[in-house]
Symmetry: D2
Subunit: 403 residues, 4 copies
Amino acid sequence: MKLFNTAQLEAILPKIQNIVNTHIIPLEREYLQQNFSKVKPKLEEIRQKIKKEGLWNPHLSTALGGLGLSLTEFGQVSEALGQSPYGHYCFNCNAPDIGNQELLLGHASNFIKDQFLQPLLEGKIRSCFSMTEPHFAGSNPTEMDTSALKEGNNYIINGKKWFTSSADGASFAVVMANTNPEAENKYQRASMIVVPTDNPGFKLTCNTPIMGDTNDDYFSHGEVSYTNCKVPVKNLIGIEGQGFALAQQRLGPGRIHHCMRWIGICERAFDLMCQRAATRQLAKGVMLGEKQSIQNFIADSRAEINAARFMVLHTATKIDNEGAKTARIEISTIKFYVANVLQRVLDRAIQVHGALGLTDYTVLAFWYRHERAARIYDGPDEVHKAALARQVLKAYGLNTSVV
Amino acid sequence: MKLFNTAQLEAILPKIQNIVNTHIIPLEREYLQQNFSKVKPKLEEIRQKIKKEGLWNPHLSTALGGLGLSLTEFGQVSEALGQSPYGHYCFNCNAPDIGNQELLLGHASNFIKDQFLQPLLEGKIRSCFSMTEPHFAGSNPTEMDTSALKEGNNYIINGKKWFTSSADGASFAVVMANTNPEAENKYQRASMIVVPTDNPGFKLTCNTPIMGDTNDDYFSHGEVSYTNCKVPVKNLIGIEGQGFALAQQRLGPGRIHHCMRWIGICERAFDLMCQRAATRQLAKGVMLGEKQSIQNFIADSRAEINAARFMVLHTATKIDNEGAKTARIEISTIKFYVANVLQRVLDRAIQVHGALGLTDYTVLAFWYRHERAARIYDGPDEVHKAALARQVLKAYGLNTSVV
Amino acid sequence: MKLFNTAQLEAILPKIQNIVNTHIIPLEREYLQQNFSKVKPKLEEIRQKIKKEGLWNPHLSTALGGLGLSLTEFGQVSEALGQSPYGHYCFNCNAPDIGNQELLLGHASNFIKDQFLQPLLEGKIRSCFSMTEPHFAGSNPTEMDTSALKEGNNYIINGKKWFTSSADGASFAVVMANTNPEAENKYQRASMIVVPTDNPGFKLTCNTPIMGDTNDDYFSHGEVSYTNCKVPVKNLIGIEGQGFALAQQRLGPGRIHHCMRWIGICERAFDLMCQRAATRQLAKGVMLGEKQSIQNFIADSRAEINAARFMVLHTATKIDNEGAKTARIEISTIKFYVANVLQRVLDRAIQVHGALGLTDYTVLAFWYRHERAARIYDGPDEVHKAALARQVLKAYGLNTSVV
Amino acid sequence: MKLFNTAQLEAILPKIQNIVNTHIIPLEREYLQQNFSKVKPKLEEIRQKIKKEGLWNPHLSTALGGLGLSLTEFGQVSEALGQSPYGHYCFNCNAPDIGNQELLLGHASNFIKDQFLQPLLEGKIRSCFSMTEPHFAGSNPTEMDTSALKEGNNYIINGKKWFTSSADGASFAVVMANTNPEAENKYQRASMIVVPTDNPGFKLTCNTPIMGDTNDDYFSHGEVSYTNCKVPVKNLIGIEGQGFALAQQRLGPGRIHHCMRWIGICERAFDLMCQRAATRQLAKGVMLGEKQSIQNFIADSRAEINAARFMVLHTATKIDNEGAKTARIEISTIKFYVANVLQRVLDRAIQVHGALGLTDYTVLAFWYRHERAARIYDGPDEVHKAALARQVLKAYGLNTSVV
């Protein structure tokens, strides 16, 4: 990995890894079986410590108080943080807040920045992103029912969203809604609008039970209804009809973040698998790790994780050098490739743990359940594969339609 | 499937399927997100109805009030019941009770039969089976720490067990403990003993949190400590040192039951996947099921489910005709083969459901979590594959050791 | 397999297997590295012996001098014959002749039967089937360039075909050509016509080199040009425009034949793999078969072969009972499923043989090369999977188009 | 791939790629169906041209007349050359000669260098490497029967080898033989000795038929017998007992060479697959590449090739920086990972070509047959996976034995 190393990274990565290892991971055994709100006070202590150590907001520029990392550098930080489900939260670079921060930094008015972004950067509030609707394929974001009608200086928003992750406890939502339904270009109908969650028209109907776990607060996925939800026009992000374009921009680096976080999960799962293999006795003097089936699990996982990491870091470097737009195909490629590596590595790690792997006594079961989503959110495998292939085939003269 | 059909089956299977469809499955949406104890009163009503309709205990001989089915016939009943997590429970043929019933019917004294088996058959009580220990590989049941020392007319049992499924609310446990630790043959050291759960030496320490779900009652997996747990010698099942042999006997038909239940799950998941593919719109006029990736999921699943069912029913027929012993290899074969089909089919069904598949609004997420265990319990894949291969290679003159 | 056993089968199968083992398989080592014409005299001797023993034409009715087997029974004969590449040829039930026999028996005029079918049944001549064209997707047989224009009492055939298997040495070809290009229904444009290969308009351009092996005679795949090839109208099989329907009819049982032959190959490969694993020494006292990776190969292969065989025999039984038409979906299912099992089993058997597996000193390399075609001919995997899925989805109300 | 680019590479790679595209690849269609000796004169012309252009021996230092490339740079040259089976031969960096060159350069006496290495570097002769024996597992090179007894100033070599690739037409063989059978350390028993092929004790028994293709000259795999083969002691490479150590040294960079060549094959296969997908019509107006199954093949292949290339180039860079010894684990990882990617990509490319893919009218079938060996030679998958896992587990305190 030398090629991706930098002096800056060598200086901070060990400190970050150390915080993960000594402060964050130890919380898992007790708190992962409980709702997020239970662990929150503990995490708040760690967040304060991280601020003190100058590691807060590692994804931001130094001008904004961050660490001024390239995407390639931050990717490696993200891998370290990904080794625990609490990692990114502690450093204030957790989804969906990190995406909202980037969005507002890039496109919001000063009003919005003061009102909403500033406290978000300071970690005083949380936010959510409200785009997916239950009755439309998430893979086709141009289809959407939620509307934002302009009435005077306000938008009146109506619609239903779900998978508005972390809505529970968030101070505001960034909502995707149709402001220009009549626009000919279907990609120019939606806009993004900031909605404070204490708005009477905003209602968190419930947290969706996901794989047996409803949880709460940051660890939740809200169903939200917008009912005649009136917000001032100044809450618009960017300009009207720009919603789809902003969503696309958001996804590029967002997928790098996910991928590197997944690799962090893979490394942690790999470590647990090897520890188990090396120490679990099958019979007197025969350890699990001596069995070739287990060795195959380890070898295949090592190879796949290495392959995944190289691909992601090269993609990050391309984005650093040439921008996210030119790396669209690489982003699609890593999105589905790494998500599948993740699932296979978790599956093998659980198999090596036997019955223990099924319990919540290791973090494996948490990820096995919650990261099944990795092959679905931000574009299911099938969509990314088709996108990649269509792009490749263009160079051979074949133009195929999207759907 | 005509080959496995019988007049008896044609008479009862539609009735059973009808109960599953109209009474049992409709409970899932509301109750699967709650603990089992919440749905219990509803299930009790259904159990009474089933008794009234003469479908209770379908696995038992008519002499015992059952339906007098062959294993091949019962396998097909089991498939129907497997289509809901509540199915087998409603018909009183759920694991681990069905295994305990068979065990006691075959090997218990009249005392034990009167005391424990009779109310179990009537559905008045539940039971559990206490064999796996946290510190030993479940795949190697000859390694075990729990001891049962004979003192006068009693056994004094000490040890710790886990994955004593459904211990919560059970009236008795069948415990595997070393009564003859000094026996030269390591397969003759353990015995099976009935322990009433109100014995002061029996303690349900906790229900293990499994994949984010601790649940309770029948839907739980207990950790149990036996501390100077004194039970009369007459609670011994069979003879001393027979524990391992009885466990083996238990597993043969038990694996058929699991396999056919898994196929029921596969069929349900397949049905949900097809419904979704046929009705989910990707864009105006384009349905999910028109995409070849989705068609591949459906085709591969159909082929694999068919293959799995044929193998299981042929194995059941072989057991019916020749006994479980001669079918040992076939049983190992279906155990790992069907468990893997199950996991793949569930994975595809979830993928086709997209975000919805991750929620507890369909039963898929329940099975995805809880049936990850299928490749582990009753012998992990690796053990069954090795067993199968070793047996095959014997015929070629190669004898290989077990571990 | 008891369920598929019959008294008839028990009487003849051991005899057939014995001929395969003692007469046919031993020829492989010397002759498989040479062209087919070299082994032909040896095979002719075996054919005579088979005739004498009354096992000739096992697929035909007793009225026609065959063994009067059901498809389920013949499938099991086919499995035995499939264990050597020479097997079916020796018994005169090899493709494409068996398909042509069935076609002519069912649909040809007495003239054609006398002229062409009779010597084919007697094994005096061979035939070929000329349908696939290089410039059209074989998976879409309605697209075809070859034309047969009626001029008086003759058809004038023009076109180019390839993969006219075994054209080299065949006495006649059954050609698929458009006689009714103007028919509105594209499935009613083609007809099947018998063309003697000594017709001056018939030219075997070359035998296509396939995976490094051009071979000759029965083991070849001809490229054929029809140039103003004039044949009498009485050479038409069935009626004009029926070509597509006849081709479909031919494929149903044809796929069962292929599938059972593939299972024969699987069993032979499995046997070779196990022999190797049991006898190859890795180091002093350590045999290959003791390694768990090898055991996994054996276990996975055993499971998949069993699964494949059950599916095929059940499909055969359904065809026996209900006809090929109702079994269309099952036929698509086994076609792709078994072809993939075949490829995996061959791959594993080669891997277990190491360098030897790459050589032509075992039959494995022959099949590895030549049966790569199994996932392509008679409909590639992708077509069968889509067909299966579309059929399934119909029951859910979704009708999707073929292409 | 920018990260691995250098000014040197930018200068030469386009020239090399151009020679491959315009001179080498066009020979395939005519000559791949024939023996190598037929294409040799054509290739000789190209070799002269390459010498003239100063691109000869790209793997050697400038001092030796090569291009002075790092392994990372040469890897990328090797990828370009790998796009045709003739590529490496034309540039004189083909296995096994490249390995013998490196071996002799590093360890041979001046006598051997003058006699054997010099003409090899000039491309005047070819050589072979004689290590594998039919009766011993190639994966365990310490087991070997060939002996070299010292008698006065000579070694008397006796033994049988096979897979002595390219022995046909070679001027000398490097033979691995036991010179010190009594050495306690089994890794110090064998030595490497140069044997001119015109030695009367050297006999090329035959070229082994491999996957239907015996071929000749450089494209052959010889079976060689050494019968009282007397060679002077000065033909010893390095010192007695060093054979195993030299073999290990040889394999490190050798595997990089193979891996990069395989990636070249993958890229060529990928290109053919995309061309076919973009231009093959399924029905009027429907191209093959519009089908999602085909798109999945393309997407999965692109992702896997990218992943493979990154891993190999990073491993090459590690070898450049730290030496092959520290990269042992990475070398095992890429060996099995890339070989499997290769097989999958070739398989998909053939499937997309349909019947054409089976013929020798594209190069795909050549590689499909001959590169099945990639998962076997230089250590089968199973051995590399176990090596990788054992090394990983050492860090967790578990030491497992090799066999």
